[in-house]
Symmetry: C2
Subunit: 149 residues, 2 copies
């Protein structure tokens, strides 16, 4: 029951993108350094994020990526969908809760509800939420440092 690193990286990258974004695009290299993720691997992920219409790309020098929508409108579950990881806990079920053997199967109900809860939670968290969280964290860290100096 683990998220793949692909999904984890994608979310981290998106948050980082929003943290670093001012007016100009953010290059993949910048994200790679900050988040310590292989540059070539990130390229793959961003290709998917672009296809999922969560980011827009700008080519050429000074280019990079920008969020395609306001951070508050981008939810974690959309990011995970984009990199093609499912949020459904069992392989026999589709996104509507349909199974081949929905009547015989004794565990249908649990997995369906579980899937709904996972989706429900992750669709309630936006990139903006996480960015604010991260900012608060960075701020707190600075305070701590000041104290110890």
């Amino acid at each position: 029951m683990r998220l793949s690193t692909k999904a984890q990286y994608a979310v981290r990258a998106m948050v980082r993108l929003n943290l670093e974004q001012k007016d100009s695009p953010v290059s993949i290299r910048e994200i790679s350094t900050h988040e310590n993720i292989s540059l070539t691997y990130l390229e793959q992920l961003f290709a998917k994020l672009r296809r999922g219409k969560l980011v827009r790309s700008v080519r050429g020098p000074g280019g990079g990526y920008i969020l395609a929508r306001p951070a508050a409108d981008i939810k974690v579950d959309q990011i995970i969908d984009s990199v093609e990881e499912t949020l459904i806990p069992v392989s026999c079920m589709d996104e509507f809760g349909n199974c081949a053997c929905s009547d015989q199967c004794v565990t249908h109900t649990v997995w369906q509800e579980l899937g709904e809860r996972i989706r429900g939670f992750l669709s309630s968290v936006s990139i903006e939420d996480l960015t604010n969280d991260a900012r608060a964290r960075i701020h707190r860290q600075r305070e701590e440092q000041r104290k110890t100096e």
Copy 2:
């Protein structure tokens, strides 16, 4: 973000065990036929369930397995724990929400909360709940059949 079949099978097997259990033990072979799971694979799973103290085994002719506790006291999350599948969505985190880099990491909060929700839900569902659900389902099926006859 999928449960392994191991976890799925284990839950199905436990529900089936409770469905079939009257006063005598239920053999693994019986479960294998009902749930259509490889007998030898089931053996592995029940070994783990036994070590997790969720079932007790009875050897000899007429032997098999019985639930170690009332069905209402056995929760789905315990079964999944027994077969050694984690419910924590990321590998960097332990069961208490501790990470090596909890302060730098921008996504710590989401994964921790997600993990808590998954655990929360699965610990609220007991084998008894699922068994009743299955009984109701079987009943409904019979009704349907009667109508079409």
